[in-house]
Symmetry: C2
Subunit: 359 residues, 2 copies
């Protein structure tokens, strides 16, 4: 009998509860079909935790996550909490949970769904076959470096500091090589080594560890060139690894070129197999509670969890195939429907995908 | 009679001399047609200056530039000098000339030529009407901040520093507002104010000076969102102003989406009207001296010079129209030809454009 996998389920705010509910149906169906065993435990997080517990990240939630093998997160935040003091903002909870769980990388697969190719602003023949993943360092770099102001003779000056040490770079570069080994075995390391010292260190580390992954084809790409090449030859990329800010920019560009940004999943990983999985889209408070949200990104986050944390490639494949089959059959939620009058609801989409999962 | 405008002409390396020669024909033709007077003086710069004078930026060249009203630059660099020590590299000359001439902004227009729309990886209907300009700060930010290494318990650490003071931001933001006033009166200021202190200072300055340009519609865009919006709605942008590194990335992305990166001009500006104009493309040593280079980017750099430095909008319009007319008539150099066997040479393209300039 399969080992029981513990999944902490954080529905969060806005459309979070609705899309997570559909993902849980998918979990249940894969148990039935593949014999896997999941034990889910729900926890409060984000705005709803602020309202009910007075903090975006209650200790109890953290305990549940730390005892789990993986976390499934819906979405957090909304206008209700936007003007709160910093410690009472949902986003502060996100930073806190990543830190507490030791998550140092963010994975953003950018996949093109054949039947949604028209949604992209890129030409179909350019997009054809695009299936890449951006591995972004999440804990270092200029976003977390020392920041301050000082007076100068040219008026106030603002300063940000960007720092990376060898260990920080090495752990994410190794993770990216390992991910590439399980995919098409191509890694693009993105830096600005012709100008930045942190990028030179980054490239030194990549060059140092690369010989340990001789089966992976490595290229070094300057960040501005990468912003161009993502447009010119998106399908040629497999895994892209880069530092925090470059990853922030490039993962959004890569997501947009798929044309299906509302359909993309993501993972935040640390050492070992533990991971936090969530859709790239936000909490969409404007459509919350109306059965209008698209649950596909959250359902694909479950597939990503199966693949990355549990090693259940068979079930991951089955879920992804089910999503494709339902889309190919022409079913659409409102966000991706051309004819909005024929759009189906959140639960209908979830049910159809569940019904389409085949062993 | 028109005032004589002095133009320092730096042909440079690779295809530089060939494309600059065609641009000079254009200068001559606009003198005849519009009654303007130009006095050109040639100067050595880049690799050829290293070979002939032992330095990429001879004092004599700098003197010629400083006495001029504008500089027209072809291209510099090539494999011959790539392994030189830093002070003997063509790129070092570029940094030196910008600094000596007080050039603090780089302007990169990204224009779509109707008849070349197919060259873009974006759909024609998305590109339709795209005509934007990226104004990039050129002297500050992380590329020029303090850089160093230090030992830590996590291995060597590399540090880059990003700094901006109020005066540096204000001068380029004002320049961008003024450029927007002469165009479609829309300005997108790009920053990462939700995370970076330098970006918060940047945004404060933009908000402070904005009321002085009430005719310009201003939007603040986060850099990662801008990387997406350039793909989603390129034609909605007019002027984009941003700091050095963001501008490096976004101007390349914007250039690539036009599909005609070999056709784009650029300007580096300082205080006042002085400017250095050059094509975005490089020196292409592989095709140098073979009458294969496309002179259009350099010819359009002359049009940009007319518009930005001299205020000769009539002649600028005439040059741009001539380029369009020649392209619309189906003439192509090899780089943009679909049927390479029908491609014309550098001089033929230059002659055709010259012949097409009409008052
Ligand atoms: Mg981002
Ligand atoms: Mg660049």
């Amino acid at each position: 009998m399969a080992e029981v996998k513990k999944i902490a389920v954080i529905a969060g705010d806005g459309i979070g509860p609705e899309v997570v509910a559909e993902a849980e149906k998918v979990l249940k169906r894969t148990e039935e079909l593949f014999g896997y065993k999941f034990q889910t435990e729900h926890a409060l997080f984000g705005g709803i935790a602020i309202d009910e517990k007075g903090t975006p990240l209650p200790q109890e939630t953290l305990d549940i996550c730390q005892k789990a093998d993986a976390v499934l997160l819906g979405a957090v935040g909304g206008p209700k909490w936007d003007n709160n003091p910093k410690e009472l903002r949902p986003e502060t909870g996100l930073l806190g949970i990543r830190k507490a769980l030791g998550l140092f990388s963010n994975l953003r697969p950018a996949v093109v769904f054949d039947c949604l190719k028209d949604a992209s602003t890129l030409k179909a023949e350019v997009l054809e076959g695009t299936d890449l993943i951006v591995v972004r360092e999440l804990t270092g770099g200029i976003y977390f470096g020392e920041k301050f102001r000082r007076e100068t003779e040219n008026g106030q000056e603002a300063v940000d500091t960007c720092a990376y040490n060898v260990n920080e770079v090495e752990r994410i570069v190794r993770q990216a090589f390992e991910i590439a080994q399980k995919r098409r075995k191509k890694l693009a390391s993105v830096d600005k080594a012709n100008v930045l010292e942190t990028s030179r260190l980054w490239r030194e580390v990549v060059i140092k560890v690369a010989p340990e992954y001789p089966d992976v084809e490595l290229e070094h790409v300057l960040v501005d060139n990468c912003a161009m090449q993502l447009l010119r030859r998106p399908s040629s990329f497999d895994v892209i690894v880069t530092e925090n800010m470059f990853g922030d920019i490039l993962s959004d560009e890569a997501a947009m070129l798929t044309g299906s940004i509302g359909m993309l999943s993501s993972a935040s990983l640390g050492e070992g197999s533990f991971g936090l999985y969530e859709p790239v889209h936000g909490s969409a408070p404007d459509i919350a509670g109306q059965n209008l949200a698209n649950p596909i990104a959250t359902i694909l986050s479950v597939a990503l969890m199966f693949r990355m944390t549990f090693g259940y490639a068979d079930a991951a494949d089955a879920i992804e195939r089910a999503v494709s089959d339902v889309l190919n059959a022409g079913h659409r939620t409102g966000d991706i429907a051309v004819d909005k009058s024929k759009a189906i609801g959140t639960t209908e989409m979830g049910d159809m995908i569940v019904a389409a999962i085949k062993k």
